[in-house]
C-alpha cells in the first residue's frame, strides 16, 4: 500500500482528502505543520508527501527543502490558486509537481500516480508493446516512427499508462480527462478517441492488444 503523508492544517480538507485517498487505495497520515512532519518522517516512511504551501505553523517551502535535504521522497505542493511565484519557487526547491487549490480530487490522484511512476522504477519512458512513450517530452513512437498523437489522444494514453493493470470504467476515463478538456467531453467522444488511439498504436485495431476492452466494465492496459 502506498503511504502518503499529508501536511495540511485545514481540518476539513484533511478529513475529506484522507477519506477520498483511502477509497483510492492509499494509506494516509496527516500532520498539520513542519515540525510534526519532520518528526514523523524520522519514525515512519512515506512514499509521497502532499504539502500545503500556506501552513500556519512553519513554511511550506522550508518544509520541502528540509525534506528533500534528508529524504528522497517525492513532494507534491498544494498551492494557492494561480500563484506563479509559489509554483516556480516550489520547483526550484525540488518539488516534483504542484496542484493549485481548489483542485479536483481526481486530478490530484492523477498527479500522484504520475509522480510515483516518474520517480519509480519504470521512469520516464514507458513501453507498451511496440510503442514507446516518452512522458517527459510528451511523444509516442511506434517502431521508431513518431505517432503524432493529438493532445487529447496523448492524454488518454497517459491515463492508461498511469493505471496499468487496472480496469478503468468509461466514467473514470471521462473524469480523468475532464481537467484538460473542460466540459466538452461526452461519452460518444470517448468512444471515438479510443478508436482513434487504437488505430494509431495497435498493430491490428480490430484486435487490440494494448488497450483491451473489458466487457461490461471498461478498458484496461496490462502491465
Amino acid at each position: 500500500m502506498t503511504k502518503i503523508l499529508l501536511v495540511e492544517d485545514d481540518k476539513a480538507i484533511v478529513a475529506n482528502l484522507t477519506e477520498f485517498l483511502n477509497s483510492e487505495g492509499y494509506t494516509v497520515r496527516s500532520v498539520s505543520g513542519q515540525t510534526a512532519a519532520m518528526n514523523l518522517l524520522i519514525k515512519e516512511k512515506a512514499d509521497l508527501i502532499l504539502l500545503d504551501v500556506s501552513l500556519a505553523e512553519g513554511n511550506g517551502f522550508a518544509t520541502c527543502k528540509a525534506i528533500k535535504a534528508e529524504y528522497d521522497i517525492p513532494v507534491i505542493f498544494l498551492t494557492a490558486s494561480d500563484d506563479e511565484f509559489s509554483t516556480v519557487t516550489g520547483f526550484d526547491l525540488g518539488a516534483d509537481d504542484y496542484i493549485s487549490k481548489p483542485f479536483r480530487p481526481r486530478e490530484l490522484v492523477s498527479r500522484i500516480k504520475n509522480v510515483l511512476r516518474l520517480t519509480g522504477n519504470t521512469g520516464k519512458a514507458v513501453r507498451l508493446g511496440d510503442v514507446i512513450v516518452d512522458t517527459e517530452k510528451g511523444t509516442a513512437t511506434k517502431n521508431n516512427k513518431d505517432l503524432f498523437l493529438s493532445a487529447l489522444e496523448y492524454r488518454l494514453l497517459l491515463v492508461f499508462i498511469n493505471n496499468r493493470g487496472m480496469v478503468l470504467t468509461r466514467h473514470q476515463l471521462l473524469d480523468a480527462i475532464w481537467d484538460v478538456a473542460g466540459e466538452y467531453v461526452n461519452d460518444n467522444t470517448l468512444t471515438v478517441y479510443i478508436k482513434r488511439l487504437r488505430e494509431k498504436i495497435e498493430d491490428d485495431p480490430a484486435n487490440p492488444q494494448i488497450i483491451l476492452t473489458v466487457r461490461g466494465i471498461g478498458y484496461k492496459v496490462e502491465i
Binding site: 490558486s81 481548489p102 479536483r104 493529438s150 493532445a151 487529447l152 484538460v180 466540459e183
Partner: protein, 334 residues
C-alpha cells in the same frame, strides 16, 4: 507684544542692540552732548522699528501655524492665499502646495475605498449566479432514487460550475492586482514561437474537441513577462475558439521588427457585431453571441495585461467572416 520677549532670539537680539546702542550713546555723549542725544533717540527708534517689524512677522507666522492646526483637525475650508512677499511668501506657497497634496491623497484614499467596495460587490454578484445553479444541482443530487447516469450528469455539471467560479475568482484577483498597480512585470526573453505555444497549451484539447484547427506562424523574439502575457494571449485565443464553429480555423501570426512585436490572432468564426465592437474589452460585457458560461472578463484582463506592458490591442472583423485581434508591444515608450 510682551509675549515676544519670551522668544529667546528676540531677547538676544534686543540685548545686543541695547548693549551696542549704549556703547554708541556713551561714546557720542563723550564727544558732544547733542551728538549723544541724537544717537540715543536714533537708537531707540531703530530698536523700536526692529521690535515692531519682528512682532508683525511673528504674528503672521502664528496665524499660519493656527491655520495649519485647524487643517490638521479636519477643517477643510482653510485656504492659504499668497498675500505676502519675501521668505514668508515662499513659506506660504510651499505650505499651500502641501495642503493641496494632502487633499489629493485624502481623495485618492477615498476613491480606493470606493473601488474596493465596488470590486467586492462585482465578485459577489458574479458568483451568485453559478452558486444558485450549484444549490439546485445539489438539491437534485440529494434525491434518493436517481439513476447512476443522472447522478454522473449532475456531478459533471457541478464540477463545471465549480471550475467557472474558480476561474472567475482567479481572473478578478488578477484584474484587481493590475488595477492597484501591485504587479511587477518581469522582463524575460523568449522566442515568440515558444510564447505562443505556451499560451495555447491548455487550449489544445478544447480546440481539438471543437474540431477546430490551430495554425501558428511565429518568428522573432519577445521581451516581457511570460506568465502574464501567456494569460493575455490565451484568453483571446479562448474567445476566438468559443466564437468559431466546428471545423473552423484559428491562426496566430507573430512577427518582430525594430519598432514593435506584433501578434495577430484570427479566426474564421462568426465575427463581432457592430453593437458589441466598442465594448468587448469592457469588464463583464457579454456580447450578444456569447455563451451563457462566459463572464465577459477574459478580454478585459487581456487588454489590461497588454497595456501595462507598453502594448496595444485592437480588434477588427474579417471578410468574409471572422475576427482578428492585433496585439502590439512597442519597444520604445509610446
Amino acid at each position: 507684544m510682551i509675549k515676544l520677549l519670551k522668544n529667546k532670539e528676540v531677547r538676544k537680539a534686543l540685548i545686543w542692540q541695547i548693549f551696542f546702542s549704549m556703547i554708541a550713546c556713551a561714546i557720542c555723549f563723550f564727544i558732544d552732548i547733542r551728538a549723544g542725544q541724537i544717537t540715543l533717540v536714533l537708537s531707540l527708534i531703530l530698536i523700536l522699528i526692529y521690535y515692531i517689524s519682528t512682532y508683525r512677522r511673528y504674528r503672521k507666522i502664528a496665524a499660519l501655524a493656527g491655520n495649519i492646526n485647524k487643517l490638521l483637525h479636519g477643517d477643510n475650508s482653510i485656504f492659504f492665499e499668497n498675500y505676502s512677499e519675501g521668505e514668508l511668501g515662499i513659506l506660504h506657497s510651499e505650505i499651500y502646495k502641501m495642503t493641496v497634496r494632502l487633499r489629493e491623497q485624502q481623495q485618492k484614499l477615498l476613491n480606493d475605498k470606493v473601488y474596493l467596495a465596488n470590486s467586492i460587490a462585482d465578485i459577489s454578484h458574479q458568483i451568485r449566479t453559478p452558486l444558485t445553479s450549484i444549490n439546485l444541482l445539489v438539491q437534485l443530487l440529494s434525491e434518493l432514487d436517481i439513476s447512476n447516469e443522472r447522478r454522473y450528469q449532475l456531478v459533471h455539471e457541478l464540477y463545471g460550475l465549480l471550475s467557472r467560479i474558480d476561474w472567475l475568482i482567479s481572473t478578478l484577483l488578477k484584474i484587481s492586482k493590475l488595477d492597484t498597480g501591485t504587479v511587477q512585470f518581469k522582463e524575460e526573453n523568449i522566442s515568440l514561437e515558444t510564447l505562443i505555444n505556451k499560451s495555447c497549451s491548455t487550449l489544445l484539447v478544447p480546440i481539438e474537441l471543437h474540431g477546430q484547427e490551430l495554425v501558428i506562424n511565429a518568428a522573432g523574439d519577445f521581451v516581457g513577462d511570460i506568465a502574464w502575457t501567456c494569460e493575455a494571449i490565451g484568453n483571446i485565443v479562448k474567445n476566438c475558439m468559443e466564437h468559431t464553429p466546428e471545423g473552423g480555423k484559428i491562426e496566430i501570426e507573430a512577427v518582430e521588427n525594430a519598432l514593435y512585436t506584433e501578434i495577430v490572432i484570427k479566426d474564421n468564426g462568426t465575427g463581432i457585431s457592430k453593437e458589441d465592437m466598442p465594448h468587448i474589452f469592457e469588464r463583464f460585457y457579454k456580447g450578444k453571441n456569447s455563451s451563457e458560461t462566459s463572464f465577459g472578463i477574459g478580454l478585459a484582463l487581456s487588454r489590461m495585461i497588454i497595456t501595462s506592458q507598453n502594448g496595444t490591442v485592437k480588434v477588427e472583423n474579417r471578410t468574409p467572416s471572422g475576427t482578428m485581434f492585433i496585439i502590439r508591444f512597442y519597444k520604445g515608450t509610446v
